[in-house]
């Protein structure tokens, strides 16, 4: 069935099937990262792999490049089954990857990075002249002219990326994987990269391209494969596909009417607690404007990289706003730092709980009391008994699955870790709670519990800012939704106008602009 679709959609200029991945499944402890994903790459095509955070893009790439072994599924190259066991294997098979963070050695010279591991030799020593010549030649083909003897780190990221691509091509790559190659390039550099990509496509390479910039994806790709939550949701040709269709697939819209109809209970009328007016910061996010009253939830919706996390950081003082204003209970405030935000009784559950949330080696109890203790100041230490009481109360209230409060948090599952972070902020008794992707990477049951918890908190009079990449969740939980695109707020939907379709249209750029 998938086969038929493939043949029908096949663009005229693409060649035979080069790579065929079938039924790829990969499970990490607690997370099913890939659930029977198929992916096909043809010679002479640029194929964009699309999906939000946690969709499984990077896991799929890592399976292809030998970093992860799949639990099941097959990979065929030219119809022959392959099983790359390391990056080295993959390169030998002709699958080369250029990562977002260029994986070269900045201290070494351009030429060295180019030849590293397969240096030309003469009379028992490395022939540096030959190495420099080869590097210069290969780079010239990509129209990059730099001194091959200069150190790689002295060049822009764009040049470093070209060196990485040149290196990949020189190793007889047939498949080139470009993982978010454009995220640190300026417009001109992106255009140059695209020219190179088009040229390589014409030479018959299969290019797998990952980017979260929709414009770029449409500008250069022949075909899209869209993943969501570790599952394949579709493969479609670029020609004839609209942005709205693509975004709908990425964010998920086969939501039935019933779930769509579900909306948060209206809050009792009250003056707004937190109000943002054209709040922004240079280089971060702009034009943030919303108000939220006690018992209300405001949502932030937008694609990956649209400025959701930046907005949350701005509100919590992790970055300082340099334009617009923020009002708390009608009075203007400037949040100077997270500590200051804590004193204003703001709470912030960060997006990446591994790197900026939990302290894995501390116990559940210690993690829970962390924010409360910080708000009280370290001199007024909470007694151990009091800490235990607090910890036990939240373990019960949130249903944290842990044998006891003294277990290191790192040993719990993702969903339970998330609840511990939530407990931490709830223990600090916030009035305004910022939840950045609290439901990401946790199982469905835990998601439902987190949503229930949010409803309970609203009833207690908290104001909540909720960030999620899942549209249904935003619609189900938010009274008001700020829609972000390209790091600025492009719409504010309220009341009845909050529905998945309107959010999608605003994200895709077809909707009403605020």
């Amino acid at each position: 069935m998938a086969e038929d679709a493939l043949n029908r959609d096949r663009p005229a200029d693409s060649g035979p099937e080069l790579l065929r991945m079938r039924g790829i499944r990969k499970e990490f402890p607690g997370v099913l990262a890939l659930d029977g994903v198929d992916f096909t790459l043809r010679a002479g095509e640029i194929h964009a792999l699309m999906g939000e955070n946690g969709a499984g893009k990077s896991t799929l790439i890592k399976v292809l490049t030998g970093v992860h072994a799949p639990d099941s599924g097959t990979i065929e190259l030219d119809g022959r089954p392959i099983r790359p066991r390391s990056a080295h294997d993959a390169v030998a098979l002709g699958i080369s990857t250029v990562y977002q963070e260029v994986n070269l050695v900045p201290y070494l010279s351009v030429a060295e990075n180019f030849v590293l591991g397969r240096e030309p030799r003469r009379l028992g020593r490395i022939d540096w002249r030959e190495a420099n010549r080869r590097a210069a030649e290969a780079l010239a083909r990509l129209e990059v002219r730099v001194d091959p003897a200069s150190s790689l780190g002295s060049h822009s990221l764009a040049v470093q990326q070209m060196v990485a691509i040149a290196r990949a091509l020189d190793q007889n790559a047939r498949i080139l994987v470009l993982d978010e190659p454009t995220s640190s390039l300026d417009a001109r550099e992106v255009e140059r990269l695209f020219e190179v990509m088009r040229r390589l496509r014409a030479e018959g390479l299969g290019i797998l391209f990952v980017s979260h910039f929709l414009d770029q994806v449409f500008a250069v790709s022949d075909r899209f494969t869209v993943l969501r939550n570790g599952r394949l949701v579709g493969e479609l040709p670029a020609r004839g596909t609209t942005r709205l269709q693509l975004v709908s697939l990425m964010l998920g819209r086969e939501v039935d009417e019933e779930t769509l109809a579900k909306r948060p209970e209206p809050a009792a009328p009250a003056p707004p607690m937190v109000e943002a007016r054209a709040l922004g910061r240079r280089g971060s996010v702009e034009g943030l404007g919303f108000s939220v009253a006690p018992g209300e939830t405001v949502g932030l919706a937008g694609l990956l990289g649209s400025g959701r996390t930046e907005s949350a950081r701005l509100l919590f003082g992790a970055d300082r706003a340099d334009r617009g204003e923020l009002r708390l209970d009608g009075r203007r405030v400037r949040v100077r730092s997270p500590r200051h935000a804590l004193r204003l009784r703001f709470g912030f559950c960060p997006e990446d709980r591994k790197s900026s949330g939990i302290v894995p080696n501390l116990s559940v109890r210690e993690n829970i009391v962390l924010a409360l203790q910080a708000r009280r100041g370290w001199l007024r230490r909470l007694s151990l008994r009091r800490q235990r009481e607090i910890a036990d109360r939240f373990i019960r209230a949130l249903g944290i699955a842990t044998p006891d409060a003294e277990k290191p948090v790192g040993t719990l599952s993702g969903g339970n870790q998330q609840k511990v972070i939530l407990a931490r902020w709830l223990a600090s008794e916030p009035r305004f709670l910022i939840l950045d992707e609290p439901t990401r990477g946790i199982d469905v049951g835990s998601k439902a519990e987190i949503e229930r918890l949010m409803a309970d908190l609203r009833k207690e009079g908290l104001a909540i800012l909720f960030v999620s990449s899942e549209l249904e969740e935003v619609v189900r939980n938010c009274h008001r939704v700020c829609v972000l695109r390209d790091r600025r707020q492009v719409g504010l939907l309220e009341g009845d106008r909050v529905d998945a379709g309107a959010i999608l249209r605003t994200i895709a750029g077809g909707g009403e602009d605020a």
């Binding site: 070269l104 050695v105 002295s154």
Partner: protein, 312 residues
């Protein structure tokens, strides 16, 4: 020549400091600037230089080797005991160097295959070697093997050996894929792995090389002092690290040059010589001077790195 084309500012700075130190000393003491003094400088510090070359390789790869001082004590006692038991001098040397390389290989394997922190693995190696040396003999053992006597009395052998190993090291580091892999692993291990370099093999070999160099240093120290003493080479590992850092090697790996390390060793030696020429100063002033110099060079490296701030 490629070796020098890379902007290796710190090495030039080290060279400048060395030239400055020698010039200042020559102006102050009339017999200082002579070939004999220079040859003696090399001879007196050959064992440190040999150990420092190995340590430089390890640091370049992003690791650290704390076992080289203890290795020198161990090798001395080991050689002396063998020769007192009637083993010929050349065989004692061969056995000592082979054993030293093997110990390095073992430590390298632990670091590379079990992902253990090099600091702890080589710290354990240091205790092990020092302990073994003391178990063999608490007292200093005299060496009167004729080969050792001859080697010890020659003013050319130790400097010659040091320079030969240095050149071999430069060849390995700059003109062999192994050496480039060392720099790549130290510069960014993840990248080296993704580029398909033999990261593990490189790590193992680096520690083996360091074991080879330090055991050779132990042999040189044994014929230089004509004795084997379990306590010799105490804290020498730190001198070796200091020499590498003063010579411009970045402690985080990936940047540095063996010539710099030699210059670092020579600077340490010069300070010592100057203080002994001075006569009235306590020899512990050497330590203070080295400490200050080390601070100055760390500062310089920080500047050097800031200059490269575009590097991700």
């Amino acid at each position: 020549m490629k070796a020098f084309r890379r902007s290796n500012l710190p090495v030039w700075a080290t060279l400048a400091v060395f030239v400055l130190a020698v010039t200042a000393a020559s102006l102050r003491y009339e017999h200082f600037f002579s070939f004999d003094v220079f040859l003696n400088l090399l001879r007196d510090n050959a064992f440190l230089g040999l150990a420092a070359i190995g340590v430089t390789f390890v640091i370049l790869s992003g690791g650290i080797d704390l076992s080289v001082g203890a290795m020198i004590g161990f090798v001395g006692v080991f050689c002396a005991t063998l020769m007192n038991a009637g083993v010929p001098g050349w065989a004692a040397i061969a056995l000592a160097v082979a054993l030293g390389t093997l110990v390095g290989l073992g430590m390298g394997s632990l670091v590379a295959f079990f992902d253990l922190p090099p600091f702890l693995v080589t710290l354990a190696g240091m205790f092990l070697l020092r302990g073994m040396a003391l178990v063999i003999s608490m007292e200093a053992l005299r060496i009167d093997d004729p080969l050792f006597q001859a080697l010890g009395h020659s003013k050319w052998v130790a400097p010659g050996l040091l320079l030969a190993v240095l050149l071999l090291g430069v060849y390995l580091a700059n003109f062999r894929p192994f050496g480039r892999a060392v720099y790549a692993v130290g510069g960014n291990e993840q990248s080296a792995l993704l580029m398909g370099l033999p990261v593990r093999r490189t790590k193992v070999l680096v520690y083996a090389l360091s074991g080879f160099c330090s055991s050779l240093g132990g042999v040189v120290f044994a014929f230089y002092t004509l004795s084997g003493n379990a306590n010799s080479g105490m804290t020498l590992e730190l001198d070796a690290i200091a020499a590498a850092v003063i010579g411009g090697t970045l402690l985080t790996g990936g940047v540095g040059h063996l010539f710099g390390t030699l210059l670092g060793v020579l600077i340490l030696g010069t300070i010592q010589t100057v203080i002994s020429f001075e006569g009235t100063l306590s020899s512990w002033w050497t330590r203070i001077a080295v400490g200050l110099l080390l601070l100055a060079f760390i500062g310089l490296q920080k500047l050097f790195q800031a200059g490269r701030s575009e590097t991700p």
